[in-house]
């Protein structure tokens, strides 16, 4: 009797101990693009929760109770870094009681470490607006960056979950192949966009511009993160008379009024790009994100 009971108990303990190992790797993604990438690389071996959605300004997120709960249970956080999440991620990390996701551990992933940063400021002064010391953090608008981050993430997934290292590597190879094909297609399709002059609402697109050869001639925000003022918009309008642009670019999360105001007066279209996965009907995954971005730009630049 006792023997049977102890056997049962042992089995229960084993089960309890084994359960977390067989469960999927819990990933908390700071932004949806990294959530989508983790999903591509992890398949059913990962369970991804996106901390933010495409309609939220990633600069202004709060350390909500729901995010604290997710951080506590996460095996890995995948974030942009470059201080994009500085207003909320440190709180999540400090209060999570979770050593796995602390900086320096395999469970802490910063995408910005794997790409070449643009717009790295040469002077740091808050009078210049919301500038990030490490450079512009909106790296996800260039699919070549996605490829670089994918390579880094696949390696780190393997470190965080060594039992499935081979799985992540295989999925990465597969993703990488499909991504290179798609990349070639997008670049071919987007060829007419090279040299097209654009106006942006927020300085959120240097990587997209770098990729497609778009020429940013003006910004609606007078300084990064500073709401467009009527004086500044009037200046931009005046500037556009001398130096015309073909379109105004804004992200799905940006407020639409400043762009619309300028579009009506400068007689150029506004292009609302999804900016991240979920930012439009078509941007259901990373492939859709760039399919849609390129199509929207082409349609407006025609």
């Amino acid at each position: 009797m006792f023997n049977r009971l102890s056997k049962l108990l042992a089995a229960a303990v084993l089960l309890a101990a084994a359960a977390p190992a067989s469960a999927a790797l819990n990933i908390l993604a700071c932004e949806p693009e990294w959530g989508a990438l983790a999903q591509e690389l992890g398949g059913d071996k990962v369970s991804v929760y996106d901390a933010t959605n495409a309609y939220q300004d990633p600069h202004h997120i709060q350390a909500k109770p729901s995010l604290l709960a997710r951080a506590r249970n996460a095996d890995m956080v995948v974030c942009t870094g470059a201080q994009l999440e500085i207003g909320w991620l440190p709180i999540l990390l400090q209060q999570s009681g979770n050593p796995k996701i602390q900086p320096g551990k395999p469970g802490y992933f910063e995408a910005a470490r794997f790409v070449r940063m643009l717009e790295v400021p040469t002077r740091l002064d808050r009078a210049d607006g919301d500038v990030h010391p490490g450079g512009n953090p909106h790296i996800q608008t260039d699919p070549r960056n996605i490829a670089l981050v994918a390579a880094g993430m696949a390696k780190q997934l393997a470190q965080a979950d060594p039992a499935n290292a081979a799985w992540y590597q295989t999925r990465y190879q597969d993703f990488s192949g499909r991504w290179q094909l798609a990349l070639a297609r997008w670049e071919k399709e987007a060829a007419p966009l090279r040299g097209v002059a654009i106006v942006v609402q927020h300085k959120g697109f240097p990587y997209l511009e770098d990729w497609l050869g778009l020429k940013e001639v003006a910004t609606l925000e007078p300084k990064p993160g500073v709401e467009p003022t009527s004086t500044h918009l009037a200046q931009v309008l005046e500037q556009l008379q001398r130096q015309p642009a073909r379109l105004i670019l804004r992200a799905a999360y940006n407020e639409g009024r400043p762009s619309e105001w300028l579009a009506g007066r400068a007689k150029i279209p506004v292009v609302v790009v999804p900016f991240t996965v979920g930012g439009s009907e078509q941007a259901r995954d990373l492939f859709g994100l760039f399919d849609d971005t390129v199509q929207r730009l082409l349609a407006a630049a025609k």
Partner: protein, 458 residues
Amino acid sequence: MYTRKIIASGIIMMLGAPLSAFAGESADLQQIRDEIKALRQSYEARIQALEQRLQKTELAASAAGKRAAQAETTASQAAAAVPAAPPDNINAFNPGLSLILSGLYSNHSHDPSGYGITGFHLPADVMSDLQPQRGFSLAESELGIYASVDQLFFGGLNFAIHPDNTVSTEEAFIQTTGLSHGLTVKAGRFFSGIGYLNEQHAHTWDFVDAPLAYQAFLGGQMNNDGLQLRWLAPTDTYLEIGAEAGRGASYPGTGRDKNGAGASALFAHLGGDVGASHSWRAGLSLLTTSPQDRHWDDAGVTNSFSGNSKLWIADAVWKWAPNGNAYDTNFKLQGEYLRRVEDGSLVYDINSPVPGSYSATQSGWYLQGIYQFAPYWRAGLRTERLDPGSVDYGINNAVLSRPGYHPARQSLMVDYNPSEFSRIRLQFAQDKATEGVTDNQIFLQYQMSLGAHGAHKY
């Protein structure tokens, strides 16, 4: 000669079509027109040829660009593989410094020198901190220093610089980051985790002053020297349980010199999201202190209380932002209910002591809503009320007054936040904390934050 004529006519034609009306229909002019047409055609052909060449060059360039991009990719991969060497200077490990600067102008319709919360016994030193000042003053300015200690600990210090030129240590703590299973231990001096507002620094409050209930029961804000243990439950719904043991030197406790803990606290928080647009948190806390000889002045007489004090706090906050994007517009509703039960002995007039007993149950609440109606602009309304409850002084009931007065205050504020780092606030309040006095208050306040970008609690 002839060419010059053509050029001249050409310029005239280009300058304005109306001129051609005066030129007439001479054969000469017709000839000129034909020649210009021929010229234009030839130029157009050459431009087309040029354009074709340009296109070819561009194609070649874009191919080169692609190759360059590929090279860049490899290069940046290489760059990523070799991270930049960290700065070699001696201060490279210096912690993050953040400075909060705040100043205040206050206008009171009633002289605040006799200010008090009728029916609530606050020690004289606590009262003097809470007492409003008229005119210009420095509001609480703070200096914070925070950093990771090592792979296991995080630590920080926060000095508050008060208007009267004194400096106090609001927080000086270390906290674990290396424990697993959702556990966090904090030690040192820290704001107690009870309630909602208590744990937040004053510069993140939505009004100039703390709610009356916080003033009456916690002396504004309660910090404690001690130990805190928090546990986050492994659930997708946020559930946090915390316990504290500390010295309890500050009100409602008193300074003490003995082994063990003078204050203990228990708290539980529950929270989550409803869709993408709503989030909430609710909590229940209990603070237990055992004050010894806690003095308070009443009508020129100093009395002293020793015994047990239990403070219950129920708090809730609900936040709304369309799609969770709080940048343009958002709303926050927040309320707390505090109930304090105290019993023990009371000495009436410590100069000619009359010992007696004391038991009291008092409560208070506030409810506030903050609406951001446009980027940078917020408006808020706060309503609050205290209940004197039941107070029994035993044999001293004859000499101590037991007013049935309900202190109350209504506040309205508008603030302008041009960035995350600056805030200018205008606040109007009608304060009826003291029986028989209605003080109409106007505050103008600035709060600025410099240095390290502090992350704020929910």
